[in-house]
C-alpha cells in the first residue's frame, strides 16, 4: 500500500497535470477564476424563451435526498426578481374645488423587493397645494386636530379643511388587506398631512408603507383628499408629491 502511494506520488511529480484556470490582472485588481463564462442569461424570440450558461464547469440541476442544486447563471432567474416600483397614475386630479365638499382622487403603488430586509416607501410634497406662494391650502390636521406627519387620525367631517392622504394595503383584486400599511394607517378613514419640503425647517419624508420581508408585487391604494372653506381664494391649486422607494439595508 505504501509502495503504491509512493509510486503515485512520483508519477504526479514527474507528470503534473496543467490547471486550466483564469487569471485577470490590472492596476487595481487581481482575480483568479476557476472557469471562464462565455455567455449566459435570458434570450427570447417570438416563439421561444431560453436561459443558458456557457463555459461554466458543471452547469445544470442536481438532485439528491434533501437537496437541489441549480448550478449556472441561468438559474438565477428562478430565485431573484428585481427591485421595482410602480404607480398607476402620475396625475392626481381634484377637478374644480367646491367649499365644504371633499374632493378625492386615488392611485395605486406596487412594489417588489427581493432583499431579505424588505423595503420602505416615503412621501413628501414640495409645498402645500398652492396657486402662488401666498395663496395655499393648508395641510390637514384631521377631525381631532391630532394627526401629524407620522400619526394618522380620522378625517370624515365636511367642516374639517385641508389637504391630506391615506394609504391602505390592497391585494391584486383591490380588496383591503392593510399589508405593509397597518403600522401607519388603521383604516381608510385615517389621514395624515404631507411632509412639506418648503417648510422652515424642511419636514422629513414620512414612511407610508414598509415590510421586513422580500415581497413580490405588494400594492397599496393612496387616497388624496382636499376640502376647502367658503373663503378659500379661487384658482388652480397644484403641487408635486415625491415618492421614494428604497430597500431596507
Amino acid at each position: 500500500m505504501i509502495k503504491n502511494n509512493l509510486l503515485l506520488f512520483l508519477f504526479l511529480l514527474i507528470f503534473p497535470s496543467p490547471c486550466f484556470a483564469q487569471t485577470f490582472d490590472s492596476d487595481s485588481y487581481h482575480i483568479d477564476r476557476g472557469n471562464f463564462n462565455m455567455t449566459g442569461g435570458k434570450k427570447d424570440s417570438a416563439n421561444y424563451q431560453l436561459t443558458d450558461t456557457v463555459g461554466q464547469n458543471a452547469p445544470g440541476q442536481f438532485d439528491t435526498d434533501g437537496y437541489v442544486i441549480k448550478s449556472g447563471f441561468q438559474y438565477i432567474y428562478d430565485s431573484l426578481f428585481r427591485f421595482s416600483f410602480a404607480i398607476s397614475s402620475l396625475n392626481i386630479n381634484f377637478g374644480s374645488l367646491v367649499p365644504n365638499v371633499s374632493s378625492m382622487d386615488t392611485n395605486t403603488i406596487t412594489i417588489s423587493s427581493p432583499g431579505i430586509s424588505g423595503y420602505q416607501v416615503l412621501i413628501q410634497e414640495n409645498h402645500p397645494l398652492a396657486v402662488n406662494s401666498s395663496t395655499q391650502i393648508s395641510n390637514t390636521k384631521c377631525d381631532d386636530s391630532n394627526c401629524t406627519l407620522n400619526l394618522a387620525s380620522p378625517w370624515v367631517n365636511d367642516d374639517t379643511y385641508g389637504f391630506g392622504y391615506n394609504v391602505i394595503g390592497v391585494n391584486q383584486s383591490g380588496a383591503v388587506t392593510n399589508v405593509g400599511t397597518s403600522n401607519y394607517f388603521t383604516n381608510p378613514t385615517y389621514f395624515r398631512p404631507f411632509a412639506d419640503k418648503s417648510a422652515v425647517p424642511s419636514e422629513i419624508s414620512a414612511v407610508i408603507m414598509s415590510e421586513d420581508q422580500p415581497v413580490n408585487k405588494h400594492s397599496a391604494r393612496i387616497t388624496y383628499k382636499v376640502n376647502i372653506p367658503i373663503d378659500q381664494a379661487a384658482g388652480n391649486y397644484q403641487n408635486a408629491i415625491t415618492f421614494i422607494a428604497v430597500p431596507k439595508y
Binding site: 487595481s28 437541489v68 428562478d78 430565485s79 428585481r82 427591485f83 421595482s84 416600483f85 410602480a86 404607480i87 398607476s88 397614475s89 402620475l90 396625475n91 392626481i92 386630479n93 381634484f94 377637478g95 374644480s96 374645488l97 374632493s103 382622487d105 392611485n107 406596487t110 417588489s112 423587493s113 427581493p114 432583499g115 431579505i116 430586509s117 424588505g118 420602505q120 410634497e125 397645494l129 422629513i204 419624508s205 414612511v207 414598509s210 421586513d212 420581508q213 422580500p214 388624496y224 382636499v226 388652480n236 391649486y237 397644484q238 403641487n239 408635486a240 408629491i241 415625491t242 415618492f243 421614494i244 422607494a245 428604497v246 430597500p247 431596507k248 439595508y249
Partner: protein
C-alpha cells in the same frame, strides 16, 4: 394616463475598497410602463434610522472622499435620459476613493428619478418618483476590518411561559460601536440540562457603523428560500429551566450572551385545580342537602 413602473438591479451593493482605488458597478434600469420616461440619476447619502433597516436622508452629507460618476460614454451623473416603454438601459457607476481617505463607512443610494411633466389646468398634484439602490461602502486598508459587537436587550417573552399554550419569543439588539458594518451571522442555541434541543439560525442582516439592529431568524419553508421572521420556539415544551445562548460569528470573532427562562405547566395545573374545585363543590352541595 401616464404611469410609472421601473425596476433597478441590483437592489443593493456592498464593497470594501482601499483608499485610492476605483470600483465600477453596472445597474440595469428597466422601464416596464407603457409610456416613455425621462429619468435622471443622483447619489444621496443616508444614515440608519431605527433598528429595522430603515434609512433617513435628512441632513446627511455625502463623504467628500468618494467621487461618484457614470462611466457611460453618452451620459453623466445628473443628466436626463429617455427610456422607452419596455426597454432597458445599463448605467455604469464609477466610485473612486481618495488616497487620503480615512478608514470608514459611507452609506448612499443611487437614485433614478422620473422628471415631472407639465401640469395642465385644474387643481392637481403631480407625482414625482425616485427608485433607489443602496451602496454600503467600507474604505479600509484591510479586506476584513476588525469587528466588535455588543449584544443588548437579549430577552424572552411572554413572561409567563406555558408548556402548551404559547410560543417563546426571543429578541435582542446588536450594537456596532465600530466604524465598519458587519452582518449578524450566528445562531440562538436553546439547551435544557446541558443538552441542545434547538438551534435557530440568525438572518444575516447588516449592522451599520455606530448603530443597532434588531435580530431576526431564518426558518426553512416549503419554498426554496428560507423565511426571515422574529425569533421564536414553538410548543410543546418539557417543564423546567432552559438556557438560550445568542452567538455571533464574524471574521473569526465570536460574541455570545446567555439567558435562562423557566417553563411551567400553568394551564394544566389550573385546569386540574378547576376540575377538583368543581368536584368538591358538587360533593359539598350533595352533602348539605337534607
Amino acid at each position: 394616463m401616464a404611469n410609472f413602473n421601473v425596476s433597478i438591479q441590483p437592489a443593493q451593493i456592498e464593497y470594501v475598497l482601499q483608499p485610492g482605488r476605483t470600483i465600477i458597478q453596472a445597474y440595469q434600469i428597466k422601464n416596464e410602463s407603457g409610456n416613455p420616461l425621462i429619468l435622471t440619476t443622483s447619489i444621496e447619502a443616508w444614515q440608519p434610522k431605527n433598528t429595522d433597516g430603515s434609512v433617513s436622508y435628512d441632513n446627511v452629507l455625502l463623504n467628500p472622499n468618494l467621487q461618484f460618476s457614470l462611466n457611460n460614454s453618452d451620459l453623466k451623473l445628473g443628466e436626463s435620459f429617455t427610456l422607452q416603454p419596455n426597454s432597458e438601459r445599463q448605467l455604469v457607476l464609477k466610485i473612486k476613493s481618495n488616497p487620503s481617505s480615512a478608514p470608514s463607512d459611507t452609506y448612499a443610494t443611487f437614485f433614478v428619478t422620473q422628471n415631472p411633466g407639465q401640469i395642465p389646468g385644474e387643481s392637481q398634484s403631480q407625482a414625482v418618483v425616485k427608485i433607489g439602490s443602496h451602496l454600503l461602502l467600507t474604505t479600509s486598508t484591510t479586506a476584513k476590518p476588525e469587528l466588535k459587537a455588543e449584544i443588548i436587550n437579549f430577552k424572552t417573552f411572554p413572561k409567563i411561559k406555558d408548556i402548551f399554550l404559547n410560543q417563546i419569543n426571543f429578541s435582542a439588539e446588536i450594537k456596532n460601536p465600530t466604524n465598519f458594518f458587519f452582518k449578524t451571522n450566528g445562531f440562538i442555541s436553546i439547551t435544557k440540562n446541558n443538552l441542545e434541543i434547538k438551534k435557530i439560525d440568525l438572518t444575516s442582516l447588516n449592522v451599520l457603523s455606530h448603530s443597532n439592529r434588531q435580530i431576526q431568524c431564518s426558518y426553512q419553508t416549503d419554498t426554496p428560500s428560507a423565511k426571515s421572521s422574529n425569533c421564536y420556539l414553538s410548543p410543546p415544551f418539557w417543564p423546567g429551566q432552559y438556557t438560550a445562548t445568542l452567538t455571533l460569528s464574524n471574521n473569526d470573532a465570536n460574541f455570545s450572551q446567555s439567558i435562562s427562562f423557566f417553563v411551567f405547566p400553568y394551564a394544566f395545573i389550573i385546569t386540574i385545580l378547576i376540575v377538583i374545585s368543581i368536584i368538591f363543590s358538587v360533593f359539598y352541595i350533595r352533602k348539605k342537602r337534607p
